[in-house]
């Protein structure tokens, strides 16, 4: 799962659970059935699990673009130039 996919998964999870909770409470209250509320919410949790927990392809639409190794060799990491000012410091230098 790429970075965009992770963000999407988290937001989907929160929104789906909240919607399930609101629908469950409203329907349960209107039909005066605690059981209906629990069943709807349980259904919502199962649905959310199926949507957000497995690593679905649509969470991998923005793969990270790594640099090619040969490209990295052409542009080497800049070396830190240590200016040696005294003999004492040079002995402590890593």
């Amino acid at each position: 799962m790429d970075w965009q996919g992770q963000k999407l998964a988290e937001q989907l999870m929160q929104i789906l659970l909240l919607i399930a909770a609101i629908v469950a409470f409203v329907v349960g209250y209107v039909t005066a059935s605690f059981r209906t509320m629990m069943l709807i919410y349980a259904g919502g949790v199962v649905l959310t699990t199926l949507v957000t927990v497995p690593n679905w392809p649509f969470f991998n639409r923005n793969p990270l673009q790594w640099l090619d190794p040969s490209e990295a060799e052409k542009h080497p990491k800049p070396q830190v130039v240590v200016v040696v000012s005294s003999k004492k410091k040079s002995s402590n230098k890593k």
């Binding site: 799962m1 963000k7 659970l17 909240l18 469950a24 409470f25 209250y29 605690f34 949790v45 957000t52």
Partner: protein
């Protein structure tokens, strides 16, 4: 959100948090219900009234209990426990409560009832104070919700009096 386990854990935690929140709101919604319970109790007969060998008074009554507790039931009610207690004052105790009858009402349909019964539990005084005693019959109830706080209330019916002599 990077791994299966992390996502499963995050989902479970959030789902249970919301569940607790829903249950809290469901319990809170009970406060808006309009409760209008009613009850009448008649004493049809005093079957017998005597002093036990060791000195305690005991009386047996036939009661006619009519009650409508349907309005106590909301969508969050699991059951209602109701009991009838005889309440009276003696010189030793300012309040004596003797449970005479009880019932568990599991459904709203059963909450409007009429029953004629002699006392289910023995009406015994701790002493011999019952002759000519004025007492109340009180219908107590405890509403047991599916989630949240248990409610208790009562209806006091006064004006009952035991006979002046054993029989």
């Amino acid at each position: 959100m990077h791994s299966f386990g992390y996502r499963a854990n995050a989902l479970l935690t959030f789902a249970v948090t919301i569940l607790a929140f829903i249950c809290a709101i469901a319990s809170f919604s009970d406060n808006f219900s309009n409760q209008t319970p009613s009850a009448q109790i008649q004493i049809l007969n005093i079957n017998w009234f005597q002093k036990q060998p060791h000195g305690n008074d005991e009386v047996s009554l036939t009661l006619n209990i009519t009650a409508d507790l349907q309005s106590l039931f909301t969508w969050n009610t699991k059951q209602v426990f109701a009991f009838v207690a005889a309440e009276y004052e003696t010189s030793k105790n300012s309040l004596n409560q003797v449970s005479l009858w009880d019932a568990i009402i599991p459904k709203k349909e059963h909450a409007k009832f009429w029953i004629q019964i002699s006392n289910k539990y023995r009406f015994i005084d701790q002493g011999h104070n019952l002759r000519g005693k004025n007492f109340n019959l009180t219908l107590h109830w405890h509403v047991m919700p599916k989630t949240g706080k248990m409610f208790a209330d009562k209806i006091v019916m006064s004006g009952y009096r035991l006979p002046n002599a054993y029989r």
